[in-house]
């Protein structure tokens, strides 16, 4: 009886070790067609990393597989919703997204360079801000909620047509001040647990934080369909969740702090492919 019991424990231990170890050597090809760069040399401005990895690398084999085929990827359902919105005329000007931009595929490469400087507004704009800019300035329509469903669906559509294109966010020129601010935030410890982004995602990626396998916190794959809440999640909503977990008061979604942080974190992924909508746990 005693030996049986021991055997049981050993089997459980082997199983759980197996489940925790993702296939970190795997390569991501979507629909057997779109090759995604999930690991590459870190850009020069990321001093403390030599290689950058997409969060896909850290997930379990089953979760990885969900993203390799659009039919299996639950995030693609929301892309279909966004295609309907893309072609819908809204607002006082009688315009739709399609009226100016044509097919969504015309937007290939756009997601890869955001957040970026907008000359007319003289501000750093995330892709969500740019979508709302289009809606209010060009269409005469109401703004979408910053991380509401319509916005996340549209972000997923814009990401999906840029898949495979390397992230290439500018960090100099007019955006430099915001970028420096984002960098400052990244290395600032927050909350009762006194943690900065870097404590987990730079010092400890690849390690487990209780049951969670820490990634580098790259945002090339957002928006992401999370299995835990079965919906699309935006970058800044995720930032909020992370900061909340340090037991801090978080910044608001759409705040200047989060825009700066999004710019900085996006630039840390320069060289990885756009891969949204991705699937994560």
């Amino acid at each position: 009886m005693k030996s049986l019991f021991k055997g049981g424990i050993a089997a459980v231990a082997i199983l759980s070790a197996f489940a925790a170890n993702a296939d970190e050597e795997a390569d991501l090809v979507i629909n057997e067609e779109i090759e995604i760069t999930v690991r590459t040399d870190a850009p020069a401005h990321v001093e403390n990393l030599s290689t950058i990895y997409s969060g896909w690398v850290f997930r379990s084999t089953e979760t990885q597989a969900l993203q390799m085929d659009d039919f299996e990827n639950p995030g693609m359902i929301f892309v279909d919703d966004a295609i309907a919105a893309w072609n819908t005329v809204e607002g006082t000007e009688g315009q739709s997204c399609a009226a100016c931009h044509g097919a969504p595929e015309e937007m290939a490469g756009v997601r890869a360079v955001y957040p970026k400087w907008n000359d007319e507004a003289e501000e750093v704009r995330t892709i969500a801000m740019q979508v709302n800019g289009c809606r209010t300035e060009q269409m005469g329509a109401d703004e979408w909620k910053y991380d509401g469903n319509e916005m996340l669906n549209m972000e997923a559509l814009l990401a999906s047509v840029s898949r495979g294109i390397p992230v290439n966010v500018a960090i100099d020129g007019p955006v430099q001040a915001m970028w420096e601010k984002g960098r400052e935030l990244y290395y600032t410890r927050f909350g009762q647990l006194d943690l900065s982004c870097a404590n987990c995602h730079e010092d400890n990626y690849g390690n487990n934080i209780r049951a969670d396998h820490l990634s580098q916190g790259q945002i090339n794959a957002f928006p992401t369909y999370r299995l835990k809440n079965a919906k699309l999640n935006g970058v800044q909503g995720r930032f909020r969740g992370c900061i909340r977990d340090t037991r801090a008061e978080t910044f608001a979604v759409g705040s200047e702090e989060f825009i700066a942080l999004e710019l900085y974190v996006a630039s840390r992924g320069n060289g990885l492919s756009v891969e949204g909508p991705s699937v994560r746990n």
Binding site: F71, P74, I77, D80, D81, A84, A230
Partner: protein
């Protein structure tokens, strides 16, 4: 009336005679169970896909009754043996009377 209901189907384009092929289907649908209440305590009426069928050249492959416990965006994956070239017809029946269809041709070489 459920919004944004879109059927999706994946069937291989070709197969050999007698080969067992895998068919995947998904329909985006809220599948409102009829058991939930809104903020004011009123029951949200049931609105689900209640039946799904697949036929091959008119012959039934599967015929499924769906119940309210089935979650949003019902997904079916099943195998079929194809003896000859033909057409798979897929039909989803909504509580509200709407019928959604899709079809895929397959060539047996």
């Amino acid at each position: 009336m459920a919004d944004n209901v879109t059927p999706r189907v994946r069937v291989p384009r070709d197969a050999t005679a007698g080969e067992e092929i895998t068919i995947k289907t998904l329909i985006s649908h809220p599948m409102e169970s009829g058991q939930r209440k809104d903020g004011d305590g009123n029951v949200i009426p049931r609105s689900i896909i209640n039946r799904f069928t697949c036929t091959f050249n008119g012959e039934t492959v599967i015929d499924v009754t769906l119940e309210p416990a089935i979650s949003t965006n019902p997904y079916f994956e099943f195998q079929a043996i194809v003896p000859e070239s033909g057409t798979f017809e897929f039909t989803w029946y909504d509580d509200d009377g709407a019928v959604y269809t899709d079809s895929k041709d397959i060539t047996v070489g």
